[in-house]
Symmetry: C2
Subunit: 467 residues, 2 copies
């Protein structure tokens, strides 16, 4: 589909903007964090919205797939050119255009790194809460495309709560603006919220207006350990019953705790501990102190083995080790980690962990689970030796059973990572044929030829090849 005529037209319309076709250059844009994907045919690095519009118009005209790529930290292959075509690498659109501390908003280009914006606004006493684990690498445009969450989502909500407006290029080349700088807007359909979480399949975001909030004055971290997952979940229920709203309630299971201990070379939790809760309470100094006491009491009430409270920033960092070292601890040579971010109503977390135990037993699998207990959003990692084909096959069976159980618990197969191509075969577990057909009609309203990020979200017959 990428013909010499198409390439010539692309180069002619883009002037100085790089159009890369070398194998090495294309290889650099073949994968995201999932690690699977074929080479794109072409990579374009636009410098302006006008470049993006020119590329979209040409791809639409020639029927060439167009895939938008931010920082490539996604877990579901959303930024990968599964059907070849043009990858639009947004890395040059990386300016913070405005931080407005009267109207509490920021205007950014899509490839500003999440943590860079956070540091810039925190220096002015403001706060941009969404904190996906990849925040030092992930781009805000990617966060918008996936509707990224993170630990603080329990109190502060996910990315969509902070997106006031977008500038975006339609796959047919028109530039549209959605929302505004006003915090309320009910003029026509809320296309801003429709684009958030649409995984780069509806439009190409070129500018983002984000709502900010005042930075909390104080934050206190607690680590509570428990003999069982059920006891830890009881503590979460007790917190809710006490009407506490911690900024973060992170749950880590025994398998994960042991992996981190091996990885850092020291025990981090007491003997007999099979679950930990990492809690962060924030607000004014008085409010945070009050909440920390109540949170510790709720954990004790649920039978905590230990409750540690960080008195210094150094201690705070030490307590967060059990959570922050999880991702590297679960990686290993030859270990295929299948990472799913399922979500259930939080009171059903015990049923979810009971299902994980059943899957461990039935399929002989190592499963490590941790995540955002306040939101019922648990990262389930199936850990298998990638050379063991039988184990890989059993993991795939377990995966489908997990998704079916989560939907039966009135939850969802993805809370943060999106569908991409990796979860597309499972979409029908959660959505009915009528619901999928409706979403496909919405897709057509934006992208009549289906050129933008094809093969994502919706099931398709053939899986992509490994490059």
């Amino acid at each position: 589909m990428v013909t010499p005529a198409f390439l010539a037209a692309l180069r002619a319309s883009l002037g100085d903007t790089p159009v890369l076709v070398g194998a090495d250059e294309r290889a650099a844009y073949a994968h995201d964090a999932l690690g699977v994907g074929p080479l794109p045919d072409v990579v374009v690095r636009p410098a302006h919205t006008a470049d993006v519009a020119a590329v979209a118009r040409l791809c639409h005209e020639h029927g060439v797939p167009l895939i938008v790529r931010g920082a490539g930290t996604g877990y579901t292959g959303g930024a990968v050119a599964t059907r070849g075509g043009v990858v639009l690498a947004m890395d040059r659109l990386n300016r913070i255009i405005e931080i407005d501390d009267v109207n509490l908003l920021a205007v950014v280009e899509p490839n500003v790194i999440t943590a860079d914006l956070q540091r810039a606004v925190e220096a002015r006493g403001l706060f941009y809460p969404p904190d996906p684990a990849s925040l030092e690498q992930s781009s805000l445009g990617g966060n918008v495309a996936e509707c990224a969450g993170g630990p603080r989502a329990f109190k502060y909500g996910v990315t969509r709560r902070y997106v006031l407006g977008l500038e975006a290029v339609l796959p047919t080349g028109e530039i549209v603006r959605t929302g505004s700088k006003a915090v309320k807007n009910v003029v026509g359909y809320d296309l801003t919220q429709l684009l958030v979480g649409s995984e780069g399949t509806l439009a190409i975001v070129t500018r983002i207006t984000l709502r900010l909030i005042p930075r909390p004055a104080t934050s206190i971290t607690l680590l509570a350990t428990f003999a069982t997952i059920d006891a830890a979940v009881d503590a979460v229920t007790a917190l809710i019953r006490h009407r506490l709203v911690p900024a973060a309630i992170e749950l880590v299971d025994g398998e994960s705790l042991r992996a981190v201990a091996r990885h850092v070379g020291q025990a981090l939790v007491p003997e007999g501990c099979d679950a930990a809760l990492l809690l962060e309470v924030d607000g004014s100094a008085a409010a945070a102190a009050e909440d920390a006491v109540s949170a510790a009491a709720a954990c004790a009430e649920a039978g905590a083995l230990s409750v540690d409270r960080a008195a210094t920033e150094e201690e705070r960092q030490r307590l967060w080790t059990v959570r922050r070292q999880l991702s590297p601890a679960l990686k290993g040579p030859g270990i295929a980690k299948v990472n799913h971010d399922v979500v259930v109503p939080r009171g059903r977390i015990p049923q979810l962990f009971a299902e994980l135990e059943r899957l461990r037993q039935r399929h002989g699998l190592r499963i490590a689970a941790f995540g955002h207990a306040g939101d019922g959003n648990i990262h389930v990692n199936l850990l298998v030796d990638e050379r063991d084909e039988a184990a890989v096959a059993r993991a795939h069976v377990a995966e489908r059973e997990l998704f079916e159980r989560v939907v039966a618990l009135e939850g969802s197969i993805s809370g943060e990572h999106g569908i991409g191509f990796a979860k597309a075969p499972y979409l029908g577990i959660e959505l009915s044929p009528d619901e999928i057909a409706l979403m496909q009609r919405v897709k057509q309203a934006f992208d009549p030829k289906g050129i933008l990020n094809p093969g994502k979200i919706f099931p398709e017959p053939t899986p992509p090849a490994r490059s």
Copy 2:
């Protein structure tokens, strides 16, 4: 379009469900709070989702307009049958199905009255924040259709923040479910958020899953008065600079204050006062007390003439009088009140009030303005003698100038009330032709024959007749 054959088919498919065609019965469903609209041809009062689906299928098949009506408290004619057809009166779908205080959510049918849900959840220590002025009459389904706000939106956000999932009937008759009981969900497009604020033009909501939060322990109300609007807005800016987040920051202008004083028969604010701020701070007892002191200091710093703090519930109700009595105070025999809920970035409220002064001078109009200053969302009321045709015409010119100025200030022509048919002629002031065309394609994805709430949101050639 409503033929005897259609009516017969409707009756046959609905069994005991009332199908009303009497003139009096239809007249009861002709208006909303805007007070303008023709009679529908038929009124159906469904008892179940299956009834709704049956009506939708028949209307789709016969090409009959279908209009969903909640409590009829809307200000833009969204529930009015401007092209005749069937009004679906949702008043029998009024059950609170579930309040779940472990998962902090409620499941309701669409015609539960907003305040009834609030009382039910507050009795259990929970909180449903959205508080439109009509909350004692408005239905949650209507709140979802319009994305209702209210004073507490500054701290707690508007209705969309609380909608986790919906059951809805498509205009073609299929029943779909969007979202889930999980607080995070990124599976496919966020149709939940697309339906919120879609003014009953995309689907018919039959069940709503709402997120709840813990009820704040304490709430403190303050009333500050100022010599000028600019001084009051300076106080708002000072609050923001002090990083305070009151639950409500309501601004009332001099014209409005004088109208309330006439209406209740006593002066409520000091001599020389031309603006007032009604502030509510909430949280734990310690946090609220701390914030009340800071808020009072910020008002004093901005030159407040007076700052009163309610010590008792009775005093609190007295302070709220200036805000709560506004709507009745601005009504009067023969007075046509054109009420617009424009919104600007909050730092630009002074420019908005400067524009109102210009409009008063240029067009010889009485204009009373008040609203949610924290959100920059100001209710602008053009008050004209309805028999004075020249004044009514001048008000219409002023209306358009107001909308143009608001958009130039990077705001929006509606923050809470929606577009309906009343603001449809002005849509093009805020949205480009490409943006309107895109929204119309989204509409077609849901409603290929355009039967659901036709003539709303999008401009059409002929305005509806007065019934």
